[in-house]
Structure formats: structure tokens, C-alpha cells
């Protein structure tokens, strides 16, 4: 069972408080993603859960038991590191078997489990190789294999895909999601990439400077961000923010509209501006429009928008999809 609860957890390095008091509940079987810009404390938070760092104050419960003082080796968690952290002097087989060897599992059982894991991860042909002879994706799989043979209470992933190239990243993302579907084990996944967060998570925890900015399902965060930080962090391209007079019309300090919620036309609309750079992706086109009296806005048009650099265009926001924020950056109901 992998229910994890953080109660008033704080972490300071010397005088610097990295994580102010934080509470979080992670249900059994959930796929939780910690996301935030670099330096937001997400990796530190994961290491606190792993036991690789001490909490400064507060409590960490695993399955209802206080695990705050339990050493990492006894917490029943498995971790996949950003650098994979494979043991370079051991074969793939020995790497995957290492946790079992530490748990004094007998050799026959060890081999059976290693081979089962290798089968799931398509590593059967590579069992006798050294990590140095594997590609990045294969190494990643070995790291995952090492984690699954332990049958842990929960998996911890620390930016596991950031060292892979873009195509491989998409593949591994799917594989990890499938793994979660089949194992139904709690997974905590740290990333700075909001796309990974959106595509994989049951629950996203957005962190900003050690604080939880918002917790919710991907679509909740997308639809109703509770503050400007989450609004700007989730979604790609980024949400457009408009301040001043135009925001005032909606009774807010700042308003935000996602690029996909702006309608483009040539013959009339709320705002008017000049088209700047147009980025053609084929399925979509991102247009950077300099709107008179407002500034630069990004607009997402379906397909190939027939507009070029320097053209005049009209833009209309979807009134239902305008997010309003007060001067502290909090969303207005």
C-alpha cells in the first residue's frame, strides 16, 4: 500500500528555507507529478520523501506509519534517478538484481524476478551487458527494472527523461504511463516539463519557491488555475496576460487568455493588431500579434492561418475563457 502523507514538512539548508511548511496527501495508486521551474524545491521534496535528506521539521507518513526517521533503505520506496545511477561495474542482470540481493532473496527467486522484469521492459537480450554498452533509453529501462523488482510501496522518479532526446522522451512517457496502469502502484514523478506533467499525472502538484501553488488534476489546473503562476506555467504556448485598462474592463488587475482561446479574423473583432512572427507547425500556427494599446499576444490558429508578417488582423477572446486575477496574482471567482 502506498499512501504517503506529508504533514507540515519544512526543509532548510543552513539559514535558507527551501521548503516552507507544506502539507500533502498522496493516495494509494495515484500518479502524482511535482512540477515547477528549476529551483522550486521539487527535487528536494522528492528526496525528503525518499529519506535521502532529513526534514527540518514536520512528519512524513508512509501507510499511516511515521517514517520521518526511517533510513531510505527501510522505507520500501524505489527511486529512478535523473542520471539513471546504474552501477557501471555490474551487468544489467546484476543491476536489476541488486535490491533483491540486498534483501537477501535467494538466487533462483532473484533470477526469476529479474527475467520477469526484463521481459516487461524489453531488456531480455541485454541482461549480460554492462550499462556502458547501452543506449540512453535502455539505461532508463534498466533503472526502472531495478525499481520494479523490489515491488515497492511507491516509485519515485526524479526527472527521469531529461537526459533523453525528444522522440525517445515521448516513448518512455508512454511506457511509464503503461507501467502505472498495469502495476497500479503509487508513483511520484518530478519534472520541470509541464507537458510530461499534463500527459502522465492523475494529480499535479505545482511548486513555486518551495510552496504548493496548486494541486489538482491536469484539466483542473488548465481550466481553473488558482493564480497567475499556475496559469502561466501550465499550457503551451503560455497564457497571454494583459494588465491595465483592458483588465480593468473585466474588473480585474490582470486578465489571462490562452492562445487557443483567441479567435482570429481579418474583418473585425475586439482587438486589432499587426502580425509579427508566425510559427508554422502544420497542424497549428502560432502567431505573435502586436495588438494596438495592449502589446504582444500569442494566438494559436488551427491549420495554416493565411496571415503573414505585417498583415493586420483582428482578435476576439472567448468570453467564457478569460481568467481574472487580482493584484496579488490570485484568481478571482
Amino acid at each position: 500500500m502506498g499512501k504517503i502523507a506529508l504533514k507540515h514538512v519544512t526543509k532548510s539548508f543552513g539559514a535558507t528555507e527551501v521548503i516552507p511548511p507544506l502539507d500533502l496527501d498522496i493516495e494509494d495508486g495515484e500518479f502524482v507529478v511535482f512540477v515547477g521551474p528549476s529551483g522550486c524545491g521539487k527535487s528536494t521534496l522528492l528526496r525528503l520523501i525518499a529519506g535521502l535528506e532529513d526534514v527540518t521539521s514536520g512528519m512524513i507518513e508512509i501507510d499511516g506509519n511515521d517514517a520521518t526517521k526511517v533510513p531510505p533503505s527501510k522505507r520500501g520506496l524505489a527511486m529512478v534517478f535523473q542520471s539513471y545511477a546504474l552501477y557501471p561495474h555490474m551487468s544489467v542482470r546484476k543491476n536489476i538484481a541488486f535490491p533483491l540481493r540486498m534483501a537477501k532473496v535467494d538466487e533462483a527467486e532473484r533470477n526469476r524476478k529479474v527475467e520477469a522484469a526484463a521481459d516487461i521492459l524489453n531488456l531480455t537480450d541485454y541482461l549480460e551487458r554492462r550499462p556502458g554498452q547501452l543506449s540512453g533509453g535502455q539505461r532508463q529501462r534498466v533503472a526502472i527494472g531495478r525499481a520494479i523488482v523490489r515491488e515497492p510501496e511507491a516509485f519515485l522518479f526524479d526527472e527521469p527523461l531529461s537526459n533523453l532526446d525528444a522522440a525517445l522522451r515521448v516513448n518512455m512517457r508512454l511506457e511509464i504511463s503503461e507501467l502505472h496502469q498495469s502495476l497500479k502502484t503509487t508513483m511520484i514523478y518530478v519534472t520541470h516539463d509541464q507537458v510530461e506533467a499534463m500527459t502522465m499525472a492523475d494529480k499535479i502538484v505545482v511548486l513555486n519557491a518551495g510552496r504548493i501553488a496548486q494541486v489538482g488534476s491536469p484539466l483542473e489546473l488548465y481550466r481553473s488555475p488558482q493564480n497567475i503562476f499556475v496559469a502561466g506555467f501550465i499550457g503551451s504556448p503560455k497564457m497571454n496576460f494583459i494588465e491595465g485598462e483592458e483588465a480593468g474592463k473585466h474588473g480585474a488587475h490582470t486578465i489571462g487568455v490562452r492562445p487557443e482561446h483567441l479567435a482570429l479574423s481579418t474583418d473585425g473583432g475586439t482587438w486589432e493588431g499587426t502580425v509579427g512572427v508566425a510559427e508554422h507547425l502544420g497542424s497549428d500556427t502560432f502567431l505573435h500579434v502586436h495588438v494596438d494599446g495592449i502589446g504582444a499576444l500569442t494566438v494559436r490558429a488551427q491549420g495554416e492561418a493565411g496571415l503573414n508578417h505585417g498583415d493586420r488582423a483582428h482578435i476576439t477572446p472567448d468570453p467564457e475563457r478569460i481568467h481574472r486575477f487580482d493584484s496579488d496574482g490570485l484568481a478571482l471567482a
Partner: protein, 276 residues
């Protein structure tokens, strides 16, 4: 990109470098050659280079007269023992400094190095007295301990530099995989650091082998290693060039061969990683 160099230039470099290299190596070469001469040939005027009657006689005489093998065994015991003992004590210390560094780590390391600068002669008599008290004078164990202590700072330093290159994440992974501290060091850190540990052992073995202050002053007949064996040839009656050469060759050959194998690691080891 290295620039293209003309063959003339390269030939010139080669000739010059070989000349200088041979000049530097010459004393050793000359010693080895002389060890195969008879005493008369050794002081022949003009000196003989290659064309003399090669003989192995000197080697057997040296062994007979001074019991070379016993000195050799003492050298191996003392150098090997002090190095291994040092490694056993230094590995945990270096692990601590490399993976759990604190603000004091650097100070501790520098302090350790500074104990190397303590002039041995300043504490010779106290050690001498303590050795008599403890019954360690002229014993292999006593000398092993002293050489271990004088090389310990270097061993710790070298291991520290090598350990620091091992990513901490791998040790953390071992911890997550359920390894205890002992298992982490035994199964993960040590095998990964094998090249570094090997060159540390090699270099410290060489340093201990050649150490010539404590080995000369704390031994007499029983525990004397090769340094003392050779020093016994400095008295006038031992002045036979061919035999001196044979003895010298026997004293330096093992370490010379070992040293050539480790010359690459030597730089990193002795500079504590400060020059790569």
C-alpha cells in the same frame, strides 16, 4: 587540432628527446650494465659499455654476502603492509569527506597534509623511545605502522580525489535499493573506485618502498628493508662497483617496473587531482 609538422622537424624533435631521455636514464642504465661486469672491468679505463664478459657472478655474491632476499621480504612486508593498512583506514575517511562534506572537510584535509610537513627528525627521538618502550624497535610491525602513518594523509587525499568523481546519485541509488552503509561501500563504491584505489596502492607502495629516514633509523639487523641493505654498501669496504651495481639493480628493479606501469596515474595521484 594538432598542426601538421614536417618530418624534418619531427626527426629533430625525436633525436633531441631521445638524447635527453637517454641522458637522464643513463645512471640507471650504467648501473645495470656494471652489475654484469667483473670488478676489474667495472673500473676499466676507458669505461666499457657493451663489450665485456657478461657475468651473473655479482648477483650471487650479493645474495650470499648480504642475504638480499631477507631485505627484499622486509621491504615487501613493510611497504605492502603499510599501504594496505592505510587503505583500510583511509577508505572510510575518504568516503566521509567525499560524500558527506561539511564546512570543515577542507580544513581537515589540509591539516592531514600538514602533518606530512612535520619534520621527521624533530620527533625522531621520542619515536625511538616509544619504540623501545613498546618493543617495536627493529620490528617489521613497528616500521609498517610508522610508514602507514606518514603516508596516510596522501592515501586519504588520493582516495578523496578519486571518490569525488563518483556521482553521489549512484550511492544514493544503492541506499534506496536497501543497501546498508557497509554494503554501499563494499559492493558499490569500492568496485567503482578500483582504478583509483589501485593507483593509490601503487604510488604509496613506491613511496613506502623508497622511504629512507625511518627505515634507516628504526631498524638494525632484523627488520631492515632494502634501503638499509643498500646503505650498508656505502662504507668503504663495500666499495666494489660491480657488486654495488648488482645490489642497486636488485633494490630498484621491482619498483621501477611497478612505477612504469603506474606513471599515468602518478600525476593525478600526487597532485591530488589538481592537475589533470
Amino acid at each position: 587540432m594538432a598542426r601538421a609538422v614536417t618530418n624534418n622537424r619531427k626527426a629533430f624533435n625525436t633525436a633531441l628527446a631521445w638524447l635527453v631521455g637517454l641522458l637522464i636514464f643513463f645512471p640507471i642504465l650504467w648501473t645495470v650494465l656494471t652489475s654484469f661486469k667483473t670488478e676489474a672491468q667495472a673500473i676499466n679505463d676507458p669505461p666499457l659499455f657493451l663489450f665485456f664478459d657478461w657475468t651473473l657472478e655479482n648477483y650471487s655474491v650479493v645474495q650470499e654476502r648480504s642475504d638480499y632476499l631477507r631485505y627484499l621480504w622486509n621491504s615487501v612486508f613493510i611497504a605492502g603492509g603499510s599501504t594496505l593498512l592505510g587503505i583500510v583506514i583511509a577508505v572510510p575517511a575518504a568516503w566521509s569527506m567525499a560524500f558527506v562534506p561539511s564546512r570543515r572537510t577542507k580544513d581537515v584535509l589540509l591539516w592531514m597534509l600538514s602533518t606530512k610537513m612535520l619534520p621527521a627528525v624533530g620527533v625522531l627521538y621520542p619515536i625511538y623511545l616509544l619504540f623501545i618502550q613498546l618493543g617495536l624497535l627493529d620490528t617489521r610491525i613497528g616500521l609498517t605502522i610508522v610508514l602507514m602513518l606518514i603516508n596516510l594523509p596522501i592515501i586519504v587525499w588520493m582516495l578523496y580525489t578519486y571518490f569525488r568523481e563518483i556521482p553521489a546519485e549512484i550511492l544514493e541509488a544503492a541506499r534506496m535499493d536497501g543497501a546498508s552503509l557497509r554494503e554501499e561501500i563494499l559492493y558499490v563504491l569500492t568496485p567503482m573506485a578500483v582504478p583509483g584505489i589501485a593507483s593509490t596502492i601503487l604510488l604509496n607502495f613506491i613511496l613506502a618502498w623508497n622511504e629512507a629516514f625511518w627505515t634507516l633509523n628504526l631498524t638494525a639487523a632484523n627488520a631492515a628493508p632494502l634501503t638499509a641493505f643498500i646503505a650498508s654498501y656505502s662504507s668503504p669496504e663495500g666499495l666494489f662497483y660491480a657488486k654495488l651495481s648488482a645490489a642497486s639493480t636488485m633494490a630498484i628493479a621491482p619498483i621501477l617496473i611497478l612505477g612504469w606501469f603506474s606513471q599515468k596515474q602518478l600525476v593525478r595521484g600526487l597532485t591530488f587531482g589538481a592537475v589533470k
